[in-house]
């Protein structure tokens, strides 16, 4: 299944093109479904303007801040929990509970605690993103290879070196899986946090358009969110390929 360059591009674009065509066919039947052309025009007018700086960038910034914080927190807590059987036995039921709580319901609570500004939104993102990272890190660290652990003990690899050379790389495939899940959760929470009480951001703007019956603009916002998610996940895949080059190379990923 090796396709040459142009053929590959054609194949990748075929489905989106088909979808746009289908959209075209059904659009106009109702006021709420404008044609692709109208949405495209609205897209250019709405987002290629100061809104990019006023709404898109703050949203993306909060997403990245919350995501990074959740990543640090998840890995930072997950490693000690994964390494200690006692910590795991104590904490795991609680962690599973917190993970099961849908993060959006925390928004009102976090609003009470952290106000309605940027800290609240970042906190909402952290509160949702941290769980997949944390639980996957715990699992990855717990499942580290016993023979490699013995090797570390025999050759005096301990402390920080053990963490850097053995624990973190060994758990990296799982940690990356957690981070991938967290990324999509982060985008959802970014939008939700902005829908509650906000004066800027993508979520806020989309709700605003909907209330003002600017239907084409609303659709263009949804389109932008989809594109944002796509770009982030492509970027993530790049980073993952680079971090886990050994993992994909060794064929462990296929096993």
């Amino acid at each position: 299944m090796t396709a040459s360059g142009p053929l590959k591009v054609l194949r990748a674009l075929a489905m989106p093109a088909l979808l746009v065509l289908a959209w075209w066919a059904v659009s106009g039947s109702t006021f709420y479904l404008p044609s692709p052309a109208a949405v495209a025009r609205a897209f250019a007018e709405t987002w290629l303007s100061e809104r990019l700086v006023d709404d898109v960038l703050p949203s993306a910034g909060r997403l990245l801040a919350g995501y990074a914080l959740a990543g640090l927190l998840g890995v930072g807590l997950g490693v000690p929990i994964g390494l200690s059987r006692r910590l795991r036995a104590t904490l795991e039921p609680v962690l599973e509970f917190f993970r099961a709580v849908p993060p959006p319901v925390l928004v009102p609570l976090i609003m009470l605690l952290a106000g309605i500004d940027t800290p609240m939104k970042v906190l909402v993102i952290v509160s949702g993103c941290v769980w997949p990272v944390l639980l996957n890190t715990v699992e990855g660290v717990r499942a580290l290879d016993g023979v490699l652990a013995d090797t570390c003990r025999m050759y005096g690899v301990r402390g920080v070196a053990r963490l850097r050379r053995f624990v973190l790389p060994g758990a990296a495939p799982q940690i990356m899986a957690g981070l991938r899940q967290a990324l999509s959760i982060g985008i959802i929470l970014m939008v939700i946090s902005e829908m509650f009480a906000s004066s800027s951001g993508l979520g806020f703007t989309i709700v605003l358009f909907q209330r003002q019956f600017q239907i084409a603009e609303m659709w263009s916002g949804i389109l932008l969110l989809g594109l944002l998610g796509l770009v982030l996940s492509l970027l993530f895949r790049r980073v993952e390929r680079w971090v886990l080059a050994w993992y994909y190379g060794s064929g462990a990923a296929r096993a």
Binding site: L148, D150, R153, M154, F166, Y247
Partner: protein, 259 residues
């Protein structure tokens, strides 16, 4: 050099108590290569892990140079059976060999020297930049051996290191071990289930009983020192020793089955 006296190991889990090692006493002199052979499931690996300080013994003790072993001793190296799992897949061959030296705070210049020397001695100088998973099984085990040699241990433990490689590779690796041992005279304890391998490599062969393990026989191998796959293995004496050890192991097995 390495003294194991009345070593005893019991695995205790709720509602179950398994006596893995009854009582094992044996010693390996400085510069000696001793092979330990026994029927399958006789606690060879348990014994080795106790000697390495990876597993606490239930009784008796292990001493290296007179110092009791309570954890992995600083100048001991192990080559594990599972070569595929004892090398760090995210590191290159060179990094794998170098890591223990870094932890030992060996100066960089000396480190380079040791890594290059040990990789050359196992014939892998060209593979220094490769990752372990790009190499064949036999080559991976060579890397593990190079790592052990570069560490400059006083005692080298080998836990069925060639059990998982094909016969030809195994013969090559056996000769590699003999050559390295002859050059360095590292005190070596070589655990195997392969009788031929034990007789071919060892200056002495210690035969273990089945579990709970005791030493059945401590046999001196009076074969000429310069060993060779072809001539040594076709010596009549080789056949006699091999047959003798084989009978002992059969006895051990029968003994175990009676219990």
């Amino acid at each position: 050099m390495l003294e194991i006296s009345e070593l005893h190991k019991v695995y205790v889990s709720p509602g179950r108590r398994v006596e893995a090692i009854g009582s094992v006493t044996l010693s390996v002199g400085a510069g000696e290569l001793v092979c330990v052979v026994g029927p399958s499931g006789c606690g060879k690996t348990t014994l080795l892990r106790c000697v390495a300080g990876l597993l606490p013994a239930s009784g008796g003790e292990v001493r290296v140079n007179g110092v009791p072993v309570t954890g992995p001793p600083p100048r001991m190296a192990v080559v594990f059976q599972e070569y595929g799992r004892s090398l760090f897949p995210w590191m290159t061959v060179r990094q794998n060999v170098e890591l223990p030296l870094k932890e030992k705070r060996v100066p960089a210049a000396r480190r380079r020297e040791l890594v290059a020397g040990s990789l050359e001695s196992v014939g892998l100088s060209d593979a220094a930049g490769a990752h372990p998973w790009q190499l064949s099984g036999g080559m991976q085990q060579r890397v593990a051996i190079a790592r052990a040699v570069a560490y400059e241990p006083e005692v080298l433990l080998m836990d069925e290191p060639f059990a998982a490689v094909d016969a030809q590779t195994r013969a090559d690796l056996e000769d590699l071990i003999l050559r390295l041992w002859r050059d360095s005279r590292i005190t070596t304890l070589f655990v195997t289930h392969d009788i031929d391998e034990a007789v071919y490599l060892g200056q002495r062969v210690v035969v273990l009983s089945s579990s709970p393990t005791t030493v059945m026989e401590d046999l001196k191998i009076d074969l000429p020192a310069g060993r060779d796959q072809l001539t040594t293995r076709s010596l009549p004496r080789f056949g006699e020793l091999r047959g003798h050890v084989y009978r002992q192991i059969q006895r051990a097995r029968g003994h175990g089955a009676d219990r």
